[in-house]
Symmetry: C3
Subunit: 172 residues, 3 copies
C-alpha cells in the first residue's frame, strides 16, 4: 500500500506521518533523503531525529531512493520516506539532465512495492511564481511528482497546522 | 452555472478541469488567456494544448475576457476559461490603472451568463509575502478576484496533487 | 473555547472570522496586532477597520498579546485576535532572542482562557523556500505556532477564496 502525506513547510506533516507509523505497531524503516549541507540543515535533521523512536531502522538515501525501495519491496517493515521533495532537490542540484529518468524509475518501483510505504512530500506551489529559474523548475517538478505519486497512491492526506485532511482514500 | 477550480502551480487543476468537460460530453469552447512572451511560456502553452481534445474550439482571449464571455453568454457550449490569474496578470502588466474596472466588468458578465462556465484559477497566497511590489499587488488582486468569483460560483473545488476537494456546492 | 481560522493572504479569512462573530450576536473585543509602518500597511489596516461593526471594542496589541488576553480571560466578550502571524512578525523584528519565551507565554495564556477566543492566522508555508534568512525563520515559526495553537484549539478552519473548510472540530 502506498500512502502520500503532503503539507507545507512546518505543517506538521512529518510528525503526523510518524504518528501513523507509531500507532501501527509495525517495525519501521525510516528512509531519510536529507543531506546536511550546512548548519541550518544539520539542525533540522537533528530536530527530526530526536522525535523518532530509537528502535526504527534508519537508511540514508539522498539520491538512490529507487534502488533503496526496490531492495525493500518485499519487506515486512513499514517504510517511511521523508521526504520526496528533498530527494527531488538533491537530484536537481546533482544532475538536472537525468532527473526525468530518475523520476520514472522511482515511479516504476513504487508501483510494484508489495510492502506498506508512506511518502512525505512538500506542497510548494501555492505562492507567487519564484524569480529564480531553478526554483521555478523545482516547483514544477515537485508539483508533477506529487501528482504522479498521488495517482498511484491508495491514500493521500494534506496536513495543515498538524491537522490531516484526507484527499484520496479512506481513514485506513 | 459557474464553477471555479482553484489550485497551486502544477497542482493538476487544468487537467482536472479538462477531465470534467470531457466527461460531460458537451461541446466545449476553450478560452485561453495565456500569452507567449518567452520560450518557457511557449512550452507551457504547448504542453497544455497537446492534452486537449482536437475538437474543442479555441479562443485566445488574454485581455478582453469579459467581452469574449459576454458574446457567448447564451451559448450551448460548455466554456472553459484557463486561467483567471493569467488574465489578471496580463491586465496588471498592460495597464494597472484600469484593472479595477476590468475586474468589475468581468464579474458583471459572469453573473449573467446563462451557459455553463468553468474557470480555472491559481491559489497564490500561501507563501511568504513577496519582496517585489508588483508581486504583492498581484497576490492581493488574485486573492480578491478568487473570493469574488467563488462567491457567485455554484461550485468551488480546490485541487492538490491532482486530487479535488469540493469547497462549495456538491459533486454535480 | 479556542478557535483558529487559517488562510493565505487575501483568502477572506478575516472576513470569514468577522462573519462568525457578527452572527454570534455576542459583544466583541477586536484585538488588532497590526502596526502601520508604512503607507501600504496603513491602507490595509483602514480597509479592515471599515468592514467591522462600529460597536466592537478595539484593543491594539502588537506585542503584549499574552498580557492582553490574560487580562480578558474571564471576559463575557467574544475575543477576536487578528492576526497571530503579525504578532509573531512584530516580535521577530523587535527582538528575535525573546521570541521562544513570548510564544510559550501566549500558549500558556490561551490554554487557560475561559472566554471564547477566535484567532486568525496566516498559512505561509506552501510556497518555495525563501532566499532570505529572516523570511525562512518567520515561515518556520509561523508554522510551528499554527500547529501549537491548532493542537489546543477546539476548532480549526482553513479558508480558501472565502470558503471555509473545517480541519478540526464540528460546525459549532
Amino acid at each position: 500500500m502506498i500512502e502520500l502525506v503532503l503539507g507545507g513547510a512546518r505543517s506538521g506533516k512529518s510528525a503526523y506521518a510518524e504518528s501513523l507509523l507509531k500507532r501501527s505497531g509495525s517495525n519501521v524503516v525510516y528512509i531519510a533523503t536529507a543531506q546536511a549541507f550546512d548548519q541550518e540543515m544539520s539542525e533540522r535533521i537533528l530536530h527530526h531525529q530526536l522525535q523518532r523512536p530509537a528502535e526504527w531502522q534508519l537508511i540514508e538515501s539522498p539520491l538512490v531512493l529507487a534502488e533503496t525501495l526496490d531492495s525493500l519491496s518485499n519487506s515486512e517493515h513499514y517504510l517511511l520516506v521523508d521526504c520526496l521533495t528533498l530527494w527531488l532537490s538533491n537530484h536537481l542540484l546533482a544532475d538536472e539532465s537525468s532527473l526525468a529518468a530518475e523520476i520514472d524509475r522511482l515511479l516504476a518501483v513504487l508501483a510494484r512495492m508489495s510492502c506498506r510505504v508512506l511518502l512525505v512530500s512538500n506542497e510548494v506551489g501555492m505562492g507567487i511564481v519564484p524569480e529564480n529559474r531553478l526554483a521555478r523548475r523545482f516547483r514544477d517538478e515537485a508539483g508533477w511528482l506529487n501528482q504522479r505519486v498521488a495517482q498511484i497512491a491508495d491514500k493521500v492526506t494534506l496536513v495543515t497546522a498538524g491537522m490531516p485532511l484526507v484527499l484520496k482514500g479512506q481513514n485506513l
